[in-house]
Amino acid sequence: METDWIMGLVGGLVIGLAASLYLLGNGRIMGASGIIGGLVDKSGWTSAADRIVFLFGLILAPSIYIFFFDVEANTKATTNVMILILAGLFVGIGTRLANGCTSGHGVCGISRLSVRGIISTIFYIVAGVVSVVLLRNLWGVI
């Protein structure tokens, strides 16, 4: 649809505002995998409360928005249990090994012109393209 890119841009600006607020207010990088990962492997337990309320807002806000504006919400994700588990494991291990994901390395890293952020983003995008092209178009798995 033609309006998709406008919503993409508007949503993107809101994401950028969220990251700016986190940076200028709390002096932290708004990276989803880092915020969750620090809780899971105990490395970020000294700032556990901040992390928990961030995640609480992240889950709560879309649900309130959907409720009040009565919009349709669907992830359209695959129902294949094996693919979901495998994808979740890969994303969990990968983002913690690389120390960042789309928000940390992508949004926050590239806007800072961080070499690690730029290199990481190139690699995960290329890997993502290769996996979708192979699995969807050639093998028809996803």
Partner: protein, 142 residues
């Protein structure tokens, strides 16, 4: 105050992800499907998010965060194996399900069992990563 900032930032992040369509896996996989029916939305989201962040990084120079002692230290520029390996693994998982950590968490309230299963597997992956890192280190030492 730090917690309020974290809550607001997480909430904005969640709204932004939902508005932009990034909690819709078909839009993410559509963007990665470079040679199929390509969907450009994600590029607008990334671009939109970087505009406020680019300004925010300029703003950090010579200043202190409002509610913290200092800004994140200068980005490390070392490109190591963990960064490359992790980014590739993350990219493959991202392509497989069309979910990355932020949108996966943001979709927990409406994404049903698919989001829950993906997030659970992601948390397991994150929990396992420190010991995987340790093994890679040992394997390369011997």
């Amino acid at each position: 105050m730090k917690r309020l900032v974290a809550f607001c930032s997480g909430s904005l992040f969640g709204i932004g992800l939902f508005l932009s369509g990034m909690t819709d896996t078909s839009k993410v996989q559509g963007w990665l499907d470079l040679f199929g029916n390509w969907d450009p939305t994600l590029a607008f989201v990334m671009g939109g998010a970087m505009i406020p962040m680019f300004i925010a990084w300029r703003f950090t120079e010579g200043r202190k965060p409002i509610y913290a002692e200092n800004f994140p230290s200068s980005p490390k520029s070392n490109i190591d194996r963990d960064l490359i390996l992790g980014s590739i693994l993350f990219g493959v998982g991202w392509g497989l399900a069309g979910l990355c950590p932020g949108p996966a968490i943001a979709s927990l309230s409406f994404g049903g069992t698919q989001s829950a299963l993906f997030v659970l597997a992601m948390l397991v992956g994150m929990r396992l990563t420190p010991s995987i890192k340790f093994r890679i280190l040992n394997a390369s030492a011997t």
